[in-house]
């Protein structure tokens, strides 16, 4: 309870005592009221009683609030634990069949196959790889919730340069303009404390999305700057934008937007980004305008 809460609760007792003092010192008259009690006695009695009831009621209310909050926290914790166990079991239950399928496929390809069969087998192999990737991503998500971060000082400017150069090397950008804007004056971008591999993965996922959802001639900008005690990293593109109805849902696991259906991906990229950034004590939000583009904005505590 705050100080003013105590003050308010004790106010009736104070008023009672004041009236009693004034009456006994004959500053005001002290008539006999009901039950043959004098004003002074009745004032004290009522004041103190009201105060005690108020304090008891507030304490009871506060206790209930805390209990409720604790229960909600426990429920959330339980739900997140259940989900983690579910993911672990799913991971485990899928791994064995996948191992068997992979071994079976290898056995089939031991003898040279006719062309059409070879094509079928390699198509199945590609799908097995796809499922393997999906469960690897699910495992990553589950692991992020349980495993403590292995942190070190991370130079984000270097990391961003690295991600952009990987993207330029590995992807056919086809006339998309990809630029990285880093501050140099008056000081360079601050460092953060974190797991460099996870942060690299998060930024890579954002940039990979930007490339996937843009076309020739579009512009992609990666920019970073200090903002008070944080650093902000933005990945912006001039793609089709995300419809308003989907803006909140893109963070959901396995959610695939209307436009995303035709584009390869697991539906776990953005949930992973969010899990990684939140694990680092940061936040990630998006702003999007249909037909104009999208900006993902990551905010991380600077050192």
């Amino acid at each position: 309870m705050k100080w003013w809460g105590w003050l308010l609760s004790l106010l009736p007792a104070g008023i009672g005592i004041l009236i009693a003092l004034l009456a006994t010192n004959e500053i005001i008259s002290d008539p006999i009221l009901f039950l043959r009690g004098k004003l002074a006695a009745i004032a004290i009695l009522m004041g103190v009683t009201i105060s005690i009831i108020t304090i008891a009621a507030t304490q009871f209310w506060i206790y209930n609030q805390r209990k409720q909050k604790r229960e909600i926290r426990e429920l959330r914790k339980q739900a997140s634990e259940d989900r983690r166990h579910f993911l672990q079991r799913l991971d485990h239950e899928l791994k064995n069949p996948l191992t068997a399928i992979q071994a079976g496929l290898t056995n089939i390809t031991y003898e040279p196959l006719e062309d059409y069969l070879a094509n079928e087998v390699s198509a199945v192999q590609a799908q097995v790889l796809r499922i393997s990737r999906l469960i690897a991503d699910l495992r990553k998500l589950a692991a992020l919730e349980t495993t403590p971060l292995e942190t070190t000082v991370v130079n984000m400017a270097e990391l961003l340069t690295e991600v952009v150069s990987v993207m330029k090397d590995q992807t056919n950008l086809e006339d998309r303009q990809l630029t990285l804007i880093l501050p140099n004056a008056p000081w360079p971008l601050s460092d953060v404390e974190g797991d460099p591999d996870l942060l690299l993965l998060a930024i890579h996922n954002l940039l990979d999305n930007a490339v996937k959802f843009t076309a020739q001639g579009d512009t992609i900008e990666v920019r970073a700057f200090d903002d008070r005690n944080d650093i902000v990293i933005e990945v912006a593109d001039t793609g089709p934008g995300i419809p308003g109805t989907e803006v909140d849902r893109v963070w959901e696991e396995l959610y695939r937007g209307e436009q995303a259906r035709s584009i390869p991906g697991s539906g776990l990229g953005l949930p992973l980004v969010r899990a990684i950034i939140e694990k680092h004590g940061g936040i990630v939000v998006l702003r999007s305008r249909p037909d104009q583009g999208t900006v993902f904005s990551v905010r991380l505590p600077a050192i």
């Binding site: 485990h92 992979q102 071994a103 393997s132 589950a142 991600v163 990987v166």
Partner: protein, 238 residues
């Protein structure tokens, strides 16, 4: 000609053993299968395999318990664990407990066959593998695996946690060609889209901290287009 190496394949999933056993036979091994830990312990006595491929999660007696019981008895038959766990600490623990190597499910059977051959080549019969040593030395470099620290000329070096795990994996697998994908799987346990670059970054950190010149390496050699190899001579130390 020498007889084929004898393999014991232990997994409770017949769907896996029925596919892997013929594959491994074709790859040049004599293969027997056991369906759980207890059956494995019996087979080890009667069959005396040269190497055991051991699944971790099994009913009755799991793979780690089999590993522990064998090593406690002083049986150092090489063991490759088929691991399920995603956490790198658990995998590193498997090595400390006496496994010679581990491979995460699901895996490419060809990769398993290659690992089996490597472990057989590296193993000295009846001797504990490098993977169980608590301290390893390579020239001026000492890696203390229990403390997870490394020293160069007795001075402690400052490594990021991932670089330390990477160094640990490399010194316990000297002279082996370690592809980026394999290092990624073994040390990170994750399949990163940008993973191979991540490996290169950590290798660069190791080289910088250890003062290793890539042009004339003492410790880590680059095999162009394939990966890395730890070339220093590694020995156990106290």
């Amino acid at each position: 000609m020498d007889a084929n190496p004898k393999l014991l394949l232990v997994d409770d999933e017949t769907a896996i053993t029925d596919r892997l056993a013929p594959f491994l036979s074709r790859a040049g091994f004599d293969v027997r299968v056991a369906a759980d830990g207890e059956a494995a312990l019996q087979e080890i006595v009667s069959y005396t395999p040269d190497l055991i491929v051991l699944d971790v999660l099994m009913p009755r007696l799991d793979g780690r318990e089999v590993l522990r019981q064998l090593r406690q008895k002083g049986d150092w038959t090489p063991i490759i664990l088929l691991t399920q766990v995603g956490e790198s600490a658990e995998r590193a623990m498997a090595l400390m407990e006496g496994a010679d190597d581990y491979i995460n499910k699901p895996f490419d059977p060809n990769e398993l066959a290659a690992r089996i051959k490597t472990v057989l080549r590296r193993a000295s019969p009846g001797q504990p593998p490098l993977t169980v040593a608590e301290r390893l030395r390579c020239g001026d470099l000492v890696v203390d695996r229990t403390k997870r620290r490394a020293y160069l000329k007795t001075k402690e070096v400052d490594l990021s946690p991932k670089a330390m795990s990477l160094l640990e994996y490399m010194v316990t697998h000297p002279d082996e060609l370690l592809s980026r994908d394999r290092l990624l799987d073994a040390v990170w346990g994750w399949d990163f889209p940008v993973g191979t670059r991540t490996v290169d970054t950590r290798i660069a950190e190791l080289r910088r901290v250890l003062g290793d010149d890539p042009g004339d390496p003492q410790f880590i050699e680059t095999i162009p287009g394939q990966g890395y190899r730890f070339i220093g001579k590694v020995e156990k130390t106290s």
